[in-house]
Symmetry: D2
Subunit: 284 residues, 4 copies
């Protein structure tokens, strides 16, 4: 690889950046991009850096090996990626296609740095769209009684495809605790409200009833606590008393797609680090 | 008066607009501005219109009298104002002056159509500022034991000044149910969060803990249910993981002032109509 | 028809609203929605109203005939539509599909009140997408020498389909003066900058060079003066020094699609009225 | 000092970050905050870092001396500040006080990290406000004939107060080329439009005439080319056809104050680096 992305977190202590910068400088890497953050309350330190080899391609395994001692010394949680590698993504969808379509479009144009390896759905309606985009579509209907089998099927598709993460693009089913844990930090959901407002079902109708003047969408990591996972990105749009719930749904669609697109992009670029119940997002 | 503002609500039924328009056309009024809204769920109709007399000034009492029969026929809740009249406002404030200052500045420049007739506060810190703006300042300290006397004093100042409405410009005290009811529809509060998220105390710290990516402010009518009154206006600002709670407070200050300013302006211009737990806001 | 939409403009004068409201009240219409605006500088009056027949369906021609005398009396520029009728739209596109896709998706779901009757393009790349959406696609390559023939072909497709308006969804060709005039008030373009900044070619690169902190998109009516037509809608998105021109293009795509979608929707709902070089937009 | 802020730019080359990080690690400094950026077109590298001494206070002069060799080796343009030091600021104002008031309020509360050492104005109207805030006010009327003397007086006040930068808080006078050059990189202006749209005089009236749907404000460094200096920050607010030019002025006031406040804060925190005609802004 010519470019690697390193991200890590550890307790803050003097000398971390120097140690990291030295190691890579000695190996002929140049820093292309770098972001740091120290949580002043927990004294945890977060860093992401993109490094370019000035001496031709390097083996990613060798780079990892050389980094290991530093990671151990500072007690880092870390990962190191080939910057050319596009994460493999499974998308779960229900009957609404706007978020899916936005992701497929970015994937097809090559501007969203992911490989969409499968789409799973409890309905068949998105099959023709996936066919047009030449992405494998798996119809996995679900009932109360078949939930665990259906989730097992999702997980199989995930593993069989060596997927890196799952995107719930308006999937409308609540994942079981088991699945949430199996995909911890690897599943991104779009919730159609400005969390923590209007959790649960029918948030646009809740927003209409409450008479808010802005509606929003929230992309977050999935955890077993519904709509409580670490938030990656949010956005809002202005509405008025004159908008019906149906119009809120329509206005919200565009925000949902945009917010999910950003969250997927940033996760795929390794810009999102978990900080307990929150995220550190090194967006540009 | 040369211009009157009429606002009303009633059950929707054919002929309302025609009846209103006819009445005023016959009296030589021209429509300068007009907004309507029908709540499709409750079939309630809302209207605000600004009328200009083409035949010189009219007595507001006479106009009211002439409107009375139509109001009765359609069962309207209505009010009619001289458009020159600036509503008389009492502002309650605690130790933070940014919202107060914004309102005083607009009042002094004449661009905010209100008369600030008194400022009341449980602290003395805003006294010099009010003196500079030549607005009477009433220092009304409050303890648990003196709450009812202190609220009575506020209400007295309100009545003695023939005030039209009260603005809680970061007042930080919870009003008693009695005061809420006495000032129903006549008290506007600014809450420093994007409601319904982060109700209650220290919303910026709640927002920090939840890790949201946007913070907001909400202006609403005061009701006895804390932070549940009809929302008049909201706005948000982008924040990041790197912002401390103190920075959220700082970023939020500007939004709070702007949102409260808009709510006060629109209320003073009779652009806000109550629709049960919601508002109809005929902003431009 | 059960619902009609009336829009008109004329010189301001007393009695207009009363005359209009009376006429329709007498014919058994109820006002569902109504918006007025008076330009205080030109004293021109603008109005849009949605009327519902309480006495069953009416012939749109009869309604028009009954309105004619009032329109004449007040010198109105006016039009009256069946609210069920979906305007017929031709979309012109080049090689970028995001705006087209957004419109096709809204059309297919039935949430965007238009009928897309044809897509024309100087490139073939969007043909499969249109086929998937079952919309006729016309490949009309263009060179300097064939511009007038190609534009004639577009105009033929427009007429043959009884189209109501043309949408330039990132068409990337400058229309001739003749075509601009032939479609005056009937052609909507999306420009990928926050006009009047960065007119002409490569606006995102211009924005990058100037170092702006927000980029935008503008939907406007096409006129023979490039990028100078009446603005219908605009929106912006935050960017930073770290964004490359390519990233600006990517960030801008989503805004372009959203802004064009709104402009098309509002035009189709007869919410946009021309006020010389500007628009009056009665959005909700 | 316990904390220093270092900012620099230089041609990109391997080893810069390692060299900087090493130097400070060896001197017992811990990195509190750090931001880097490489301009991929010019290959210029920009960095800002906040360093905390873990071994008690250090002399800023000694730190500078120790950094000198690295700065020379990499050909850096650099500066190093005591993070406790509040930059000394002169504010120029005309007859409109909203931007001034916002800055004075932040200064007085201690949340804006600047010392306002003087206010200069060609009008006397802001004198009482400055007195209330206990900031020296200098009334410096200006005519065509006295412009050079008046500007000399401003420059004298700037020097006599050891000021670090000048803020034009709606000063409404065009600075001479000489003054622009004397204060190059040290003078921040707020322009009441979304540049590059509506340069020059009366931008809100220009915006009204063009019929834009959003208005904005731009904070930028002053250069001899009017309204062309490097942009620090921008923001916009939604408006409609119904807003008069006077209302645009009123809506714009709040944006202007907020945008200028941010630019002043970021400049005072050494977060803004010049990149020829653009800026690099390491905001949080």
């Amino acid at each position: 690889t010519h470019e690697v992305v390193l991200k890590f977190s550890c307790s803050d202590q003097p000398g971390i950046v120097a140690a990291v910068a030295n190691l890579f400088a000695l190996q002929g890497f140049n820093i292309r991009e770098s972001s740091q953050f120290e949580d002043v309350h927990t004294h945890k330190f977060f860093m992401r850096t993109v490094l370019e080899s000035c001496e031709g391609p390097k083996s990613i395994e060798q780079v990892k090996t050389s980094f290991e001692p530093i990671a151990q010394r500072y007690g880092m949680e870390w990962s190191l990626y080939d910057n050319q590698y596009k994460p493999r993504v499974v998308i779960a969808v229900s009957q609404w296609g706007h978020c899916l379509e936005n992701l497929l479009d970015g994937y097809k144009r090559g501007t969203l740095p992911i490989d969409i390896v499968a789409v799973v759905s409890n309905h068949a309606v998105m099959q023709p769209l996936c066919e047009w985009y030449q992405v494998p579509f798996h119809h996995l209907p679900v009932t109360k009684d078949t939930k665990s089998e259906q989730e097992a099927a999702i997980l199989n598709i995930f593993s069989d495809n060596n997927a890196d993460f799952l995107v719930l693009a308006r999937y409308m089913q609540i994942l079981s605790n088991d699945l949430c844990e199996a995909l911890s930090g690897k599943a991104i959901n779009i919730h159609h409200s400005f969390l923590p407002g209007f959790k649960g079902a029918k948030p646009y109708h809740q927003a209409y009833d409450r008479g808010v003047k802005l509606i929003g969408a929230t992309a977050h990591y999935v955890t077993s606590e519904l709509d409580e996972g670490p938030i990656i990105e949010q956005a809002v749009e202005r509405v008025s008393h004159a908008n019906t719930p149906e119009e809120l749904v329509e206005i919200g669609r565009d925000i949902e797609a945009v917010v999910l697109n950003r969250a997927v992009r940033w996760h795929a670029q390794h810009r999102v680090l978990l900080n307990e119940t929150k995220t550190v997002v090194f967006s540009r």
